[in-house]
Symmetry: C2
Subunit: 194 residues, 2 copies
């Protein structure tokens, strides 16, 4: 059973176990994560996991950090509109096949306290500061209207993309996402021509 796993070493083995952990968390919820089940899903020996992570909590923590590192690339096309269209494409693509249900369950399933909840918030915070760079570059280039608030525009973009890809009743097309970006930018960018 665990033959394939036993041959694997180092980073590929770790990745495989962490991917299986995310999948298990999505299936049973964080509170019921069992190292035995992760081992079975990853097709490795339990001891392979226990050697690196002593408890299910340690394993969950490592898996969450891993999932957050497989993050969206931040586009740099030279214009905010170009960046956000590229970002929308990545956002739609990644979120369709990602650990959103796991993340949402962890966000809303527990009481929002404890070290894992804190880790989740920290991961989110880092993500947002990475992504916000697109807006900061636009501000530096002078693309935004006078008095435009880069943080606010960022919030509106991320809220709209989340709603259109995972939270709303219908998963929208990339064309729909791009038009949403355009509605926001038509209000936020300097008029280029009279």
């Amino acid at each position: 059973m665990a033959g394939a796993g036993k041959q694997m070493r180092g980073r590929p083995l770790v990745d495989k176990v962490l991917r299986a952990t995310i999948a298990e968390m999505a299936r049973v919820g964080l509170e019921h994560l069992a190292i035995e089940e992760v081992a079975a899903r990853a097709n490795v020996n339990k001891t392979t996991i226990y050697r690196r992570w002593a408890t299910a909590d340690d394993l969950a923590r490592a898996a969450l950090t891993f999932a957050s590192e497989a993050d969206l690339a931040v586009p740099d096309t030279g214009s905010l509109r170009g960046d956000l269209h590229a970002f929308a494409r990545e956002f739609g693509r990644v979120l369709a096949h990602s650990d959103v249900p796991t993340m949402m369950r962890m966000r809303w399933g527990g009481d929002g306290r404890g070290p894992l909840a804190k880790l989740m918030r920290e991961i989110q915070r880092k993500k947002h500061s990475r992504w916000k760079v697109m807006l900061h570059r636009a501000t530096k280039r002078g693309e935004l209207r006078k008095n435009a608030d880069a943080d606010l525009i960022y919030d509106v973009v991320v809220g709209a993309l989340l709603y259109l890809t995972v939270l709303g009743p219908t998963r929208r097309s990339l064309d729909h996402l791009n038009r949403a970006i355009d509605v926001i930018l038509d209000g936020a960018l300097k008029r280029t021509a009279p």
Copy 2:
């Protein structure tokens, strides 16, 4: 213990039980809802509940429908900007004290199948068509730009408001919500002056 509850009749009693049900679902999750616990929380006899709802599932269904009826008023101020500012105020107020954690847990905690998941989706659908009336009125009044897509603008507004009030890392002020509405409308509305 159940003295106060026993004196209550009709609609007030039903409301009290359904409010206790929502609170219990938020605490333990839908899957662990127990009529006994609801009775204790509402301070009524178990039989009072069993007389109206035979199972915990029936009770959960009634509570979800009840929660969805306590819905946001749809403003009608005569302009889309006025409507959406009023809507943002209501949205922020209601969602701060509402059953959002319960709803989110139900949305993401289960497998998204089954009659209750279907009911949740139906409730959401009705909510959105009620709220979307604000956009339809604006279209009729000719407020939107040519080629503006009312459904799209609605999605962007709702996504932004959800993110700014409950989903994002920080719960934003009403002023922040209003400025988000303005960014969107600056792109969506006809220019009033050259």
